[in-house]
Symmetry: C2
């Protein structure tokens, strides 16, 4: 959440913007698939020709096209709500410029030393809602925001301990309260850069959609390799896991109205005007109705993990701020995720009630110290949008990975084949070795990132 945006929109006495999307001043964001899918065939990639699950095409990059670290990718359009795939993906090399200036202040000019690059890699999945525009903008923009944010801290990242000031001046004084320094590590700067990049990208999407009169939002799941570490930043309900021979480790957690109940209720407690008298922030075991008035009923408020009883009052009969539970939970009856990018204009149907104040664009960042792992050839990170995890558990995905990779060591495209196989496993009982028969009707995008090849092909890490 941007402080200035929050204050502008939320503080008392400030007018809420109009509920309708503004008139377009720019042309709409054009629909497209990821660049790295060019040449992979199968036409305009819309779902309208293939409604039967077994006929839907699964797409992967063309055989000659290698992604960073030889990662695999596959996607499928399942959504019946739109002819477009609302998922988007991006990946590439991050070249972070490092401008060092000579520090002699007496000179009248600064000497720009030779540019150096810190190299990293980047994989990202965006799961759109309310149209594909926000996900497309995020796929076009987030890596640039991240590069800019990393360039602002790259000099400090290279130091053993980040300096207090970028100038490198020593600022210690004799007063002990001034000299206390906190043990800030290089990775804390990368985490900060990812947090800032997500927020910057969110602001860009807000401006662009406003200008083009479009709407929509998206989740964002990003993996960045830098200096021997993999940073996984997540805002939404996509998921990344590490799969090794003897280990399955979550690298993200999901942010939904259910998992962020207390944060969301807390905001409604502090700013009750955000609910415009139409919703109740309290959670009940089920929707209450007139007959329940005066009865004792279980409830939870923002400060409670457990449940307690209260007497049902009239205001408790309002529609709940968070309705349903688990993957069915909806924020203000509208949205299934509580973090992501975009949605600046989203309101509850037929009302002025805005969703954005309850949404965070800040990701949670989990750091995997790849250099500390004793890597095996078949250690991979699997990143996928929620359509995959709706029907496959982490353990099921790990079993599929372990059953596929050892038999396909010679296949240079095996990681894309694996990504395709994971998607096929969500298409019903005849279509995959999981054989669980569960079917996903959502768009699905999958990256499979082999860790063993890290650094191969990159200039430094």
């Amino acid at each position: 959440m941007s402080a200035s945006w929050f204050r502008r929109r939320l503080l008392p006495g400030v007018q809420l913007p109009a509920q309708r999307p503004p008139r377009p001043r720019a042309s709409p964001v054009p629909y497209r698939r990821p660049r790295f899918l060019r040449g992979s065939g199968s036409g305009p990639c819309t779902a309208d020709a293939s409604r039967r699950p077994d006929a839907r095409p699964v797409r992967s990059p063309a055989r000659g096209r290698a992604l960073p670290w030889n990662a695999g990718y596959a996607e499928i359009i399942n959504a019946e709500k739109s002819e477009f795939n609302e998922d988007q993906a991006a990946c590439g090399k991050l070249c972070i410029r490092r401008c060092t200036f000579e520090t002699e202040e007496d000179q009248e000019w600064l000497t720009l030393c030779s540019e150096e690059f810190l190299m990293g890699h980047y994989w990202a999945l965006f799961d759109g809602h309310g149209g594909p525009a926000a996900a497309i903008l995020a796929a076009n923009t987030l890596h640039s925001c991240l590069r800019r944010q990393l360039e602002a801290v790259v000099e400090a990242m290279a130091a053993t301990q980040p300096p207090m000031h970028l100038s490198g001046h020593c600022v210690c004084s004799s007063d002990p309260q001034f000299v206390e320094e906190k043990g800030i590590r290089a990775e804390d700067l990368v985490i900060g850069a990812l947090e800032s990049a997500f927020q910057e990208c969110d602001e860009v999407i807000g401006r662009e959609l406003e200008a083009s009169g479009q709407m929509g939002g998206c989740t964002a799941l990003v993996a960045v390799s830098l200096q021997g570490k993999l940073y996984v930043a997540n805002a939404g309900d996509s998921r990344a896991i590490l799969v090794r021979r003897d280990e399955v480790r979550p690298l993200s957690s999901e942010f939904t109205p259910g998992t962020e109940r207390q944060r969301i209720q807390q905001l409604a407690f502090v700013y009750p005007e955000l609910l415009a008298g139409e919703f109740t922030r309290l959670e009940f075991p089920r929707r209450l109705k007139g007959d329940d008035l005066g009865q004792k009923v279980l409830f939870r408020d923002h400060h409670m993990s457990g449940w307690s009883y209260k007497c049902v009052e009239k205001s408790d009969l309002k529609y709940p701020l968070i309705q349903g539970q688990g993957r069915q939970a909806r924020l203000l009856g509208t949205l299934a995720v509580s973090r992501g990018l975009g949605d600046h204009q989203l309101t509850v149907l037929d009302t002025n009630i805005q969703l954005k104040p309850f949404l965070l664009s800040v990701p949670q960042v989990i750091v995997l110290d790849v250099d500390q792992l004793e890597l095996q050839e078949e250690d991979v990170v699997v990143m996928a949008t929620d359509g995959l995890w709706d029907v496959l558990s982490n353990e099921q995905v790990a079993r599929l990975v372990r059953s596929f990779l050892p038999g396909n060591r010679e296949d240079p495209h095996r990681f894309s084949e694996l990504a395709q196989m994971l998607i096929h496993s969500t298409q019903g009982k005849d279509n995959g070795p999981a054989g669980e028969g569960q079917v996903s009707y959502d768009d699905i995008s999958v990256f499979v990132i082999p860790l063993h090849s890290q650094g191969q092909g990159s200039l430094s890490h």
Copy 2:
């Protein structure tokens, strides 16, 4: 945080109370040690006679006096700031009455069935600050609040799945949004009861201290055994751990300005008036000074886990909302804990700036399913105030437990002996088998609860 209290004190346009403690209308809370220490000797229990560490007395219950589950207890006064011990302790049996009424509504009277009791046990430590009064009130009061809260839910706790209403009426309708029920378990009601009891106790302490013109606050760490489970509720920086032969498991986490940085900064972001222009909510690596103006400096705001750079402005030179780090961190330069009971009148020295809005009385509750453990005779829970954990790690305490218990199987007082030995280990290198030589100068109180004896001596569990 009580919603009504919060609104009364914090919402815009509401007057803040006077900064001085009000005039007393009741007599002050009398100082005392826990009842179960009666008859244990060693005089008036003040520290003034024994300033040298090796001469300070460690107190335990008299030999004939058994605590619930034969738990051990010991305490020491270390504080040099007061002649009183600011720690307090309480333990006992919880008898939760269960009144069942016949449900035939046509009758003109209700039939009270025979009273049943649900039995539990209770151990609690309170670490006071700003005087012993709040801790004494908490030791006198919290168990009554908890009993009352548990009585409100005991009927539902006994059911396999808690009913939506205590009346047990079926309220399903044909509309599916009305019939969805959440899987609420009996333990969620106990957690809710603990959360409510802490808040109720906090309100009682606020009223009592206001009436007697006293001040102060305390942390609270409570263990409750009920229906085969141990519930550990913590608000503050005390700690409970489970020690078994092959396992050390934390049963609580600490709530300090450092661990709750983001929650505290968030509140200051939403209500900047709470800082009265005297503090900055931003975190910096060290205190900034005039020379830093205009420099780029690392900082963190409420939404950030990582660090980023900003340009130093004049407002950044203010005193930080959270100063220092780790156990040295102070909230508004004043308080080392961010959750607890009391402190309703506490202000920053020489200002009107209140601490209470930043403090939570709600505990975090961790549930240990004791019935699911394959209990060994030497499995214990160690609860202690922060003075112990300042100088001993979880692993060090576990080593001391494992080295002491096997050799003392025949001693009926071995758990109190162990509690005393743990305290002796904090008094310098000659005084304990840990031999680390670290000395604690804080008050320390310790319970050692043997899990193997659970249910022995209680009517049911």
